[in-house]
């Protein structure tokens, strides 16, 4: 087993800048499912990424993670279209912390600020990323692969040097 390679600081900063996030897991029989995430944090050593999801919305994703630990998470900055996908093979479901719960409000505020460029109403974004108290759950993983997915000819290529 290789020792994990920390994310580049710029990539860690990018994925925690309150972006549009979707995460996917597979059921082990060839079907992947996905859910919108409502927050992201990176460990101090930048080796571990945690995405926050609504437990009630994420049921098939949580089941997949519990079954095989494989996870894909895509991070998109709407106004610039910069998009990165991270993948890991050791994902696990964790209890969300009080800090995670507290981060929901600033996440919704910043994310709706980004979508204001496209005249998306703030109430719409807040509804999209709302999560009832007690429904929040965390999925943590060690990113082992990173891909640039910004639309264009380089979409899908492995990121070199960890630049988003």
């Amino acid at each position: 087993m290789h020792s994990p390679v920390p994310l580049e600081p710029a990539l860690a900063a990018f994925i925690t800048s309150r972006l549009s996030i979707q995460v996917a897991a597979s059921d082990g029989h060839g079907l992947a499912s996905l859910v919108r995430a409502v927050g992201c944090r990176v460990s101090a050593d930048r080796c571990r990424v945690t995405v926050l999801v609504s437990r009630s919305q994420a049921a098939p994703v949580l089941a997949g993670v519990a079954a095989n630990g494989m996870l894909a998470a895509v991070f998109n900055e709407p106004e610039s279209h910069r998009t990165v996908q991270l993948k890991g093979r050791d994902a696990c479901v964790e209890v969300a912390t009080a800090e995670d719960e507290a981060a929901l409000v600033p996440y919704a505020a910043d994310f709706s600020g980004r979508l204001a460029v496209f005249r998306v109403p703030e109430a719409y974004v807040r509804t999209l990323v709302s999560c009832a108290p007690g429904d929040l759950v965390a999925i943590s993983f060690t990113p082992s692969e990173a891909y640039g997915q910004t639309p264009g000819p380089r979409a899908g290529m492995r990121l070199e040097g960890g630049q988003p």
Binding site: Q22, A24, S26, A32, S33, L34, A72, N76, T83, K87
Partner: protein, 451 residues
């Protein structure tokens, strides 16, 4: 939401207003997730995803065709997971063109014009729809109730008399029943592969007689592919003006195309919808509506206009095909045309293209120009003012095709063009298949060069 969750009721989620996500699974079981620029409703069981770049999603679905799409309602934020199975990719034809036009709007809305380029429309069968729990917003007001509007419109269309009556009733219905402020109706000229405007509402000038070739812009593509084309955001690739000029010039069309009559239309429409008016497989016309507001015309309005245009198409087709005994003979009483004193109107005709100029101002060319010239010549010879469509059909100078000659549409176009351009020259309908030339001033006929 009550009732079964079908793709039909999820159509707002398939407009491409809010980007969707797709999760696929690699051969090693590793999931892949990406954003989708565009989802599009195909029918109750199928949707299309835009294929723009070769990427991991594509690699995965070609090996393992089952995927999950996460899509959101653009008004309520309701979320749905759709289990889908990839079937095929279409790279040309009606569905591809619908998607290409729609994507052009999305690209320009998201600042990706020039980056988004549709390689194909990936068709998927929807195997399951799962609502994702969570908060939703109340549904927004969506404009007039469409089924009652459609019923009332079809009802009045059925009572309209003559082609001009049909056209007026159709335009009024769009305005009154559907609240559409900007619209054009263009008749198809299959032989010359172009459309000409016969009526419009909501613009400073009617543009009657202005032409659009098949395949150009939203209207031309709708005509060529015989499929409704709808764009939810401003899309410069599909705007007229510039595009029309460029394509006409590059295709050598400029000389034959009616470019002297400017197209009406909004300078930068934010929503556009063109619906082909068909009679069986025969393209009769194209109805075009536009708005300054984004996302103004949805799937349901498109359906309503397609249904209304089906009624219009059949009614127009019946009227366009000349029938024996088409003239009702009654006509209006022959009206003494009082020629007001005044300088003679100089009408010049060029036989090369049948263009007609009135007092040196361009009026019209082509079949409509030839008709006007014939009427004026007949009037000059024997003072006649009363005419019938039957005699025009028999006139060799007009070279009309024998079947479905569009003559009535040409006469309406000429009538409206005269209203736009001249105070002293009129064509008035006096009965079925009968009309009158009304002159407010003496006319001096001049043959132009080559005439």
């Amino acid at each position: 939401m009550s009732g079964p969750l079908t793709l039909d009721v999820l159509r707002p989620c398939l407009e491409g207003i809010v980007p969707a996500g797709i999760a696929t699974c690699g051969a090693d079981g590793m999931p892949n997730v990406t954003y989708v620029s565009q989802l599009m409703y195909v029918d109750q069981e199928h949707l299309a995803l835009s294929f723009q770049f070769f990427n991991k999603t594509r690699e995965n679905i070609l090996a393992n065709p089952v995927a999950t799409v996460l899509t959101m309602d653009p008004d309520t934020a309701a979320r749905y997971r759709l289990t889908v199975r990839y079937l095929r990719t279409e790279t040309a034809g009606p569905l591809f063109e619908r998607m290409k036009a729609k994507l052009a709007g999305i690209a320009s809305h998201t600042g990706m014009a020039g980056v988004f380029h549709l390689l194909g429309a990936d068709i998927y069968r929807v195997q399951a729809v799962e609502p994702v729990p969570g908060r939703e917003l109340p549904a927004a007001w969506n404009g007039p109730a469409l089924l009652p509007a459609l019923r009332r419109s079809i009802d009045v269309l059925g009572r309209a008399e003559g082609l001009d009556g049909l056209i007026d009733v159709f335009c009024s219905s769009l305005e009154r029943q559907f609240g559409i402020q900007h619209q054009m109706l263009l008749m198809a000229d299959a032989a010359r592969q172009r459309l000409f405007i016969v009526a419009s509402r909501g613009y400073p000038s009617s543009g009657a007689g202005a032409e659009i070739p098949y395949g150009v812009g939203v209207i031309g593509v709708a005509a060529r592919e015989r499929v409704p084309i709808r764009i939810m955001f401003p899309a410069s690739e599909y705007a007229y003006g510039r595009v029309l000029r460029e394509q006409a010039t590059s295709g050598g069309l400029a000389e034959q195309l009616e470019t002297a009559i400017p197209l009406p239309g909004l300078a930068e429409p934010a929503s556009q919808l063109a619906v082909p008016v068909l009679a069986g497989n025969h393209l009769v016309a194209v109805a075009y509506v536009e708005s300054q507001h984004e996302c103004h015309f949805g799937y349901d309005l498109e359906d309503a206009l397609v249904a209304l245009c089906a009624s219009l198409g059949l009614a127009m087709h019946l009227l366009q095909c000349p029938m024996d005994g088409e003239e009702d003979g009654a006509g209006g009483p022959p009206e003494a045309v009082v020629e007001r004193p005044g300088a003679a109107l100089r009408v010049r005709h060029f036989s090369r293209d049948d263009s007609v100029f009135v007092d040196d101002d361009y009026l019209i060319k082509g079949v409509a120009g030839a008709i006007l010239w014939k009427l004026l010549q007949d009037h000059a010879q024997d003072g006649r003012c009363e005419f019938s469509t039957r005699e025009l059909r028999l006139a060799p100078a007009l070279r009309l095709p024998e079947v479905c000659d569009n003559l009535d549409a040409r006469l309406i176009l000429l009538q409206r063009r005269l209203l736009d351009r001249s105070d002293s020259l009129r064509i008035e309908k006096t009965g079925r298949g009968r009309f009158r030339l009304a002159l407010g001033r003496p006319v001096l006929l001049l043959a132009g060069e080559g005439g």
